[in-house]
Amino acid sequence: MKISYNRELCQGHNRCYMLAPELFDVDDEGYAVLKVEGEVPAELHDKAQLCVDNCPEYAIELTD
């Protein structure tokens, strides 16, 4: 499982950062910063799915 994040779509709702601080940090202006590159560790798959399912701007995607 890979995770991607589109900074252009992010509006700083911070839902991903709250749900999965292991996967997302937040910058000084409140926009999300993806912390992992490439494969999402298996133990974080559920949290990655939560980030996708709770982003109001559809800025996060998962691919196999």
Partner: protein
């Protein structure tokens, strides 16, 4: 004034969010419109459109084609002739600003409202919630267990916190709520005397800040606005004042509504109350579910250019209401949309708006809501509505209980 409003014959063609019937039953009105007329219309307010589907609301908020302007965001019947703050700036930047100015005005404010800054205010907020309940519960003990969770608790929390952030006297809270009543809740009531206006009050407060500069790093938000630059220049006095108006009023009755609606829900759903109180891990989902189902904020736009939407011809200058709470209850976007599911896992709600105008204070509001509910459920063991008929919801663009009498059982 509101009790003299003409009755609404059909919400699809005569929509009026300031009507008392809307306060009492907005969710049923949205559900009905979504099925039979997803873009409702009204001749009131000079002409207004009202979408109720989540996808329409998101597309209008995204405004990819520049069809809408944010120059006015509260529906009113006055002509806007503010020559000092013309488009794309507007009277209360950045909420009244359009691109490209919007991004620069907004960037000035993002850092103080980012989550790590807001989290520093949590201990202060928590202590204040305890202080309020000390007073409210003592009052209830002398009053047969009765107190009002909206008036004695919820309404004070955002007022106290934003006064702290802006550096305004906390004892002026009643004045702030009066300003809000005039600006948002009942903007068509009457013209105000100059001394009654928020502008008159804030000019004096801003002048006090200007005359008493603080060392760098020790200032409040007004000091911040007086120190930053846009396009290499200090902010104009109108920009500073407009932004302080926004910061002061935007967070108060909105968050107050959200806290009140959530307590209203918990008072009627003991199983949800038990889970919220006893399962800290469920709270992160519960807070978002409160925000989704009881979203307080409906924004407005004006149509910026003639265009067609859902087969209707929209004309420049028409109002476009954006009822985010209606979108949050769209069954096409949410499973069991009308149900409160305390641990809902898929919840792309738009309670804080969508697109470039996402609520600047969302992290603050969310912190205040979470802390207010944590402290309330910790301190108030056994409570219920005194009488469902005595709960009164607001009219207008901010929806929440303004009177919420509770009965507390102290011997439980």
């Amino acid at each position: 004034m509101s009790d003299t409003k003409a009755p609404v014959e059909d919400w699809a063609t005569d929509f009026d969010h300031t009507h008392p019937d809307y306060a009492a039953g907005a969710p049923a009105i949205w559900d009905d419109l979504r099925k039979r007329c997803p873009l409702a219309h009204s001749e009131r307010f000079g002409g207004m459109w009202v979408p109720t589907r989540a996808d329409d609301i998101k597309a209008i908020a995204d405004n990819d084609f520049g069809n809408y302007t944010s120059h006015e965001v509260v529906v009113n019947e006055y002509a806007n002739n503010d020559e000092m703050m013309p488009p794309p700036i507007g009277g209360a930047p950045p909420i009244t600003s359009d691109p490209p100015f919007h991004a620069d005005a907004r960037r000035l404010l993002l850092a103080p409202f980012a989550p790590k800054q807001i989290n520093k205010l949590e201990p202060f907020t928590r202590q204040y919630c305890h202080d309020l309940l000390d007073v409210a519960l003592a009052k209830a003990k002398d009053n047969g267990g009765v107190f009002d969770a909206a008036i004695d608790y919820a309404q004070h929390i955002p007022v106290r916190v934003i006064a702290e952030m802006l550096g305004l006297p906390p004892e002026d809270g009643d004045r702030f709520r009066t300003f809000i009543h005039h600006i948002i809740e009942n903007p068509i009531e009457r013209e105000l005397e100059e001394e009654e206006t928020i502008e008159y009050y804030l000019d004096a407060q801003i002048e006090r800040h200007r005359a008493n500069p603080k060392p760098e790093g020790e200032g409040d938000l007004i000091d911040h606005l007086l120190s930053v630059e846009i396009f290499g220049e200090p902010l104009s006095p109108e920009h500073v004042r407009g932004t302080v108006v926004l910061l002061l009023i935007a967070g108060i009755d909105t968050t107050w509504s959200s806290i009140g609606s959530s307590i209203w829900h918990l008072a009627q759903h003991p199983a949800d109350l038990e889970r919220f109180r006893n399962e800290p891990d469920v709270r992160i989902f519960a807070i978002e579910e409160f925000l989704r189902l009881y979203a307080p904020v409906t924004m407005a736009r004006r149509v910026a250019k003639d265009h067609e939407l859902r087969g209707q011809q929209l004309k420049q200058g028409d109002w476009m209401l954006l009822p985010f709470p209606a979108g949050n209850r769209d069954p096409e976007a949410f499973e069991d949309a009308d149900q409160f599911i305390i641990d809902r896992q898929k919840n792309r709600h738009g309670a804080f708006g969508l697109g470039i105008h996402r609520c600047l204070g969302s992290n603050l509001a969310r912190m205040e809501l979470a802390v207010a509910l944590e402290v309330f459920t910790e301190r108030v063991d056994d409570f219920e509505l005194l009488d469902p008929a005595t709960v009164r919801f607001s009219t207008g663009q901010i929806r929440g209980p303004r009177e919420l009498p509770l009965k507390v059982h102290f011997d439980a």
